[in-house]
């Protein structure tokens, strides 16, 4: 029997026929990267192939010299004995699913993905494949994420109810921040949105890529009075809420935009007063729908809650294998 087209290794998923890794967690000679989140896109690889936007994002985060050779994915490319192509994943700006094919097999590595429309990036595309290598971050039947626009409506209702308080919304710098801003704009909120300094570079990049984030203002400058931010929406990385940075806001309502906010204990643990269920990953319904739609001969599960997905595959008589790749976080910061 021939070696499989992709095999799990400690560094990440390895393709022997092309001699490359996908989303390696350690420096390797050649890497293909699905998207710019830090646990998937690391610095120090010899060569990196990714979408032009993901390469830009890596350069913003790690500096221009994050690799010796940056190769933008532009249509199908031949690497060794396989052909690779990148297809939108709907997760964050630049995110892609990577299709690797040889004469006999098409294998699709989803990276992180969602099928919920996201105005901050290109929508997920279905890609026919024989083997689906999927994430399973929210692979429990309890995860059915509500319409994100309804969650934004809850945030705006709270802003209207507590005009004297600032609303601090915890968001990750790449993806969630811009997603929440676009959702707010879609809901007709056109007031200035204040952002923590850690979000500025990536927001600027989104604007440069033609995503109209509207009036953004820095929330980092120390201002005169606490009342200055009353009634305002302020976005920042969750880690900043524990820092002295948060002390400048008047009696803040702590909100957090994440798929985990479905579970009360998770929200309470983080001291969240207004949990917003906004996820950039497939939920249970989307995940099982994707497997049903693509109907691959095999499903491999990279990271997340694979036990439940394995069970579902068994119940629906589908072949599934857990890869148990380590190094990917639930939702990276």
């Amino acid at each position: 029997m021939r070696a499989p087209i992709l095999i799990p290794r400690p560094e990440g998923l390895y393709c022997p026929q092309g001699d490359f890794f996908i989303d390696p967690v350690r420096p390797v000679p050649r890497a293909l990267v699905t998207h710019g989140h830090a646990d998937h896109a690391r610095a120090g690889h010899g060569a990196v192939m990714a979408t032009a936007q993901t390469l830009d994002i890596m350069a913003l985060r790690y500096g221009r010299d994050f690799t010796q050779s940056a190769q933008p994915a532009d249509g199908p490319a031949r690497i060794g004995d396989v052909t690779v192509s990148f297809h939108p994943a709907g997760h964050v700006l630049g995110s892609a699913q990577i299709l690797v094919e040889d004469a006999r097999t098409r294998i699709l590595v989803t990276g992180d993905y969602t099928r919920t429309p996201n105005a901050a990036c290109a929508p997920w595309e279905p890609v026919a494949c024989d083997i689906l290598v999927t994430e399973a971050t929210f692979a429990l039947p309890i995860f059915r994420h509500p319409d994100p626009q309804d969650e934004i409506a809850r945030l705006l209702a709270s802003v209207r109810a507590f005009t004297e308080r600032a609303h601090l919304v915890g968001v990750y710098a790449l993806g969630k921040a811009q997603r929440v801003i676009m959702l707010l704009r879609a809901a007709g909120y056109d007031a200035p949105i204040y952002i923590h300094g850690a979000l500025a570079k990536l927001c600027d990049y989104h604007i440069a890529q033609g995503i109209a984030l509207g009036d953004l203002r820095p929330a980092t400058v120390a201002r005169g009075k606490k009342g200055d931010f009353a009634g305002a929406i302020v976005l920042g990385p969750p880690s900043a809420f524990a820092a002295t940075w948060a002390q400048r806001f008047p009696d803040p309502v702590i909100a957090f935009a994440s798929g985990w906010m479905m579970v009360r204990a998770r929200a309470r643990q983080r001291g969240v007063e207004l949990p917003l269920i906004i996820s950039d990953h497939v939920d249970w319904a989307q995940l099982t729908q994707t497997i049903t739609d693509l109907n691959p001969a095999e499903t491999w599960i990279t990271h997340g809650r694979e036990d439940a997905l394995l069970r579902w595959c068994a119940l629906t008589q589908r072949a599934a294998t857990p890869l148990r790749l380590v190094g990917y976080e639930d939702e990276p910061e």
């Binding site: 039947p141 579970v263 036990d307 439940a308």
Partner: protein, 522 residues
């Protein structure tokens, strides 16, 4: 409608602060019609008498809809049965928003055999947050951090009423409390038809020697302040009740004392565990509190007793407007007719001058005394904390110098600050945590402590940080109990940070043995 109730529960569950919880409740009462708001209130105060939906019933229901292995994995992740079912239940084909009253009536009246089918039908028509509210309603125990009293406070605030008035009426009112809400909205005050209602309790204000010196001792009566639970014992034409000072009915936990209420009237006193003449430490009382049923053994080993302070009503006469010395005389006449093993009189202390009283206060004859009460001889019995009539002169708090060990971030106005502190004392060269305090310090001291925590963090556990054992704080507290649940074996009452002891090196903070010596005898 269940939707509004679900939203209220959600808000309350994630709101840490009392003031905001009250605001959410007021908004809900204003926005919700009768009878739904009354049923919501009853759910919060624990006054809804529903057919209990048991966990095993729910497990059986969900097993019919969801693969047991998928359910088990989900339950492991969520950790709460009602929440797991609310989230995992298949999405409803058609949504409904039934009235809370309809759901309550259904849970009250549906025969047991038909209950599972009714619950399934409801789960099939509600979205997740409402399924959660419905299941919490059915299983009891909302766990949203709202006490019965806070809920009553919210009604009082909503209507601009006095909490005392609401509490006095409470036990004569029943869900859905339409007459109460009508009153809150400028209707007439409801008339309570209940026997043995609660009367709002008279409270005292703190005092000290400087304050007392300006007053004439001859105008006052003094007695010990016993460290039990202030209660009101009511016996009304055969109906007997024991109320906490906030009006919660605690009769069920003290049937032995109820048997001894062989009078017709209302006694204000202290609930104690008393074995002969020996009064047990507060801890012993706590083991009996909160129990729905008390075993015969518990009644024998932890006998409840009442130490009487005051007489509010007697044989159909309301004495509350009379001066204290007259009520006291009536009380002294009543007590000899009662079982001395269960009910006795709180003795008066000789009071000729304040200095002599100060000497007695400094060295009370019983460890279960937490100070002295000083009451004006002419004081009527008034609801609430009215200045100038009754004073409490507590023993000075106990103090210990402890070392800061952990800090946790606060909420609301304190978000961004480390404001909840765990501190410890030395035991054989190791620090053992002995308590947690989140008040007592000034704003400036909070800033100083916050800065110290940030600059001296050694480890992080979620929102909690461990800090270098270098900061000494003086902790004041009101008492000490044995506690098997704490590593140190003791638990403090009302600990607070009295000041920061930057003058003191950590090695010179107190030893555990010093605290152990302060424990009441077992």
């Amino acid at each position: 409608m269940i939707a509004g109730f679900a939203e209220l529960l959600e808000r309350l569950a994630f709101t840490p602060r009392r003031g905001l919880k009250l605001a959410h409740l007021r908004q809900y009462f204003a926005a919700t019609l009768d009878p739904d708001r009354g049923y919501a209130l009853a759910a919060l105060t624990g006054d809804l008498d529903l057919r209990r939906v048991t966990p095993s019933l729910l497990r059986g229901l969900v097993a019919e809809r969801v693969d047991p292995e998928l359910f088990a994995l989900s339950y492991d992740f969520v950790g709460d049965l009602a929440e797991t079912i609310a989230l995992i239940w298949p999405a409803p084909a058609q949504l409904a928003n039934p009235a809370l009253s309809e759901l309550v009536a259904e849970l009250q009246q549906t025969p047991k055999a038909e209950l599972p089918a009714r619950i399934i039908a409801r789960l099939d028509q509600l979205p997740p947050s409402q399924r959660y509210a419905y299941l919490k309603l059915g299983t009891g125990g909302l766990r949203v951090g709202v006490s019965a009293r806070l809920a009553r406070q919210a009604v009082a605030d909503y209507g601009g009423l006095q909490l005392a008035e609401v509490e006095e009426l409470w036990h004569g009112l029943f869900p859905p409390y339409e007459s109460l809400f009508h009153w809150a909205e400028n209707g007439p005050k409801p008339v309570s038809a209940a026997r043995a209602p609660f009367r709002p309790v008279m409270l005292s204000t703190p005092t000290d020697l400087v304050d007392l010196t300006a007053r004439d001792p001859a105008d006052f009566m003094a007695e010990w302040k016993w460290d039990g639970i202030r209660v009101q014992a009511v016996s009304d034409q055969g109906t007997r009740r024991l109320y906490s000072r906030t009006g919660d009915d605690i009769s069920g936990a003290f049937p032995d004392l109820l048997e001894a209420l062989t009078f017709d009237g209302v006694i204000d006193g202290e609930l104690l565990i008393r074995r002969g003449d020996q009064i047990a430490p507060f801890n012993d009382l706590q083991t009996r509190l909160g129990r729905k049923q008390v075993s015969a053994k518990m009644r024998e080993t932890h006998p409840a007793a009442l130490r009487a302070y005051d007489l509010l009503l007697c044989d159909g006469h309301d004495l509350r407007a009379q001066p204290l010395h007259q009520r006291r005389a009536a009380l002294e006449a009543l007590i000899p007719r009662l079982d001395p093993a269960r009910i006795d009189l709180s003795p008066l202390l000789p009071l000729s001058d304040w200095d002599a009283l100060a000497v007695m206060r400094a060295d009370p004859p019983d460890p279960v005394i937490e100070g002295v009460m000083i009451k004006h001889r002419d004081s009527p019995y008034l609801a609430g904390r009215i200045k100038g009539h009754w004073f409490k002169w507590k023993r000075d708090p106990m103090r210990v110098d402890a070392v800061l060990m952990y800090a946790q971030r606060g909420h609301g106005k304190r978000s961004g600050y480390y404001s909840d502190f765990t501190f410890g004392v030395w035991d054989a060269g190791q620090l053992v945590p002995v308590g947690k305090a989140y008040f007592g310090f000034t704003d400036a001291e909070l800033k100083e402590l916050d800065r110290f925590v940030r600059n001296n963090t050694t480890e992080r556990f979620g929102p909690v940080r461990a800090v270098k054992p270098e900061k000494v704080v003086e902790v004041a507290f009101e008492g000490l109990n044995r506690s098997p649940r704490h590593k140190s074996g003791l638990a403090m009452r009302f600990p607070r940070i009295a000041r920061i002891r930057d003058d003191k090196p950590a090695q010179e903070a107190d030893q555990l043995a010093t605290l152990m010596a302060l424990l009441p005898e077992a």
